[in-house]
Amino acid sequence: MNRSKNSLYRSGFMLVLAVVVLVLSGQAFGSDDEDGGTIMFTKPVMAVVFEHKTHIENGLECDSCHSELFEMETGVAESKDDFTMKSLYAGKYCGACHDGDMAFASNTRCTVCHIGVKGYNKAMGKETSGASGGH
């Protein structure tokens, strides 16, 4: 992967690491915004969850993905027309790593990332509209 050096992001990452270490050692943890937290993509379909934490724990650094694959800003990827599964298969966005080589391929294990409407509602603290009522 092509990594653009950005010392600012790097120092940011060190800070995040320190925070992660703190968390792992059982300290209270106010906000996880420092590492970008959880990103919920609602386009092109509802809903896909991305955990910064998991990816960092897997040894990725901020500039592994930012900002060549993804802008730092939330919502930018979603606003692009080519933010589709098809372009993932072609190696764009998540597909840059999720190619079956570096990480599981984008066209497999869909429900690791796709949490659906139910997952989204749960995360938002909403009741899932129940169709399982009845008897």
């Binding site: 869909c110 429900t111 690791v112 796709h114 659906g116 409407v117 997952g119 169709a131 399982s132 008897h135």
Partner: protein
């Protein structure tokens, strides 16, 4: 329907039913049976048990209906985007509290490997031996003699809800506005009759989960899928003997 309930079903393993036998059963009239065990273990019940629930088996190649509408659900592809539900609601005037199809969900914690989710679309199975039809006192719910779709004649429905209790798939709800039970009818009046070949939910699915078709059409994708020898096909709650026409498989 509850997952816990499904998970309590006995897993007999697929080895008890050779694929040739399975195919034979399918040709005989949709008798492949199986259980869904929490999304991780799929199995077919033994041929013996399948036969037990069958009664007289129709002759090979003789389908009870033509066309014989059916749906295959590629279950592991479902991402719960619920576009199928939206499309169904729009097409069939389903009220906000109702549903003709739903997506069940199971979440398994894989420890540090995160979570694995299983989504399972459920709709009326248009059973070959529909318990809902059997219990309806007014014949408001009936199986169409031509195409096997389990239909509702809403004018005849007296709202006793016996059919709702009888359905093993919880596929029915009471439409308060119409004062009648409503359910999936494979979009017969809203699409099929108008010349569409796909149901609204199948047409709307972005993940190719729902394949709708005619089992007597040997050239159809549906036929090929159901009869693929290497595929494990299963149905929900086979033990009820309802003989569903919605088949599940993984990719």
């Amino acid at each position: 329907m509850e997952f816990s309930e499904l998970e309590n079903l006995e897993n007999e393993g697929i080895e008890t039913l050779p694929s040739e036998e399975r195919r034979k059963f399918l040709r005989f009239g949709m008798a492949v049976t199986g259980v869904f065990l929490g999304g991780s273990v799929l199995s077919l019940t033994s041929a013996r048990n399948a036969r037990g629930g069958l009664g007289p088996i129709p002759e090979a190649g003789k389908f009870p209906y033509k066309p014989h509408y059916s749906m295959v659900i590629k279950q592991n592809r479902c991402i719960d985007c619920e576009r199928c539900k939206e499309a169904c609601v729009k097409t069939n005037k389903v009220p906000s509290y109702g549903y003709r199809t739903t997506i069940l969900e199971l979440e398994k914690d894989l420890g540090n490997k995160g979570k694995e989710r299983v989504f399972m679309p459920v709709l009326c199975n248009h059973c070959n031996r529909p318990p809902c039809v059997r219990v309806c006192p007014t014949t408001a719910t009936y199986k169409d003699k031509k195409n096997g779709i389990v239909m509702m004649d809403k004018k005849r429905c007296i709202g006793c809800k016996t059919c709702m209790a009888a359905c093993p798939y919880n596929a029915r709800y009471f439409d308060e506005e119409v004062r009648a039970v409503d359910k999936c009818n494979f979009c017969f009046d809203t699409r099929l009759e108008k010349g569409e070949t796909k149901t609204a939910c199948a047409a709307a699915c972005p993940a190719g989960v729902r394949i709708f078709g005619d089992l007597t059409d040997y050239d159809s994708e549906l036929y090929a899928l159901v009869h693929a020898p290497e595929k494990v096909v299963w149905v929900l709650r086979p033990e009820t003997g309802a003989m569903p026409n919605v088949f599940y498989m993984n990719d």
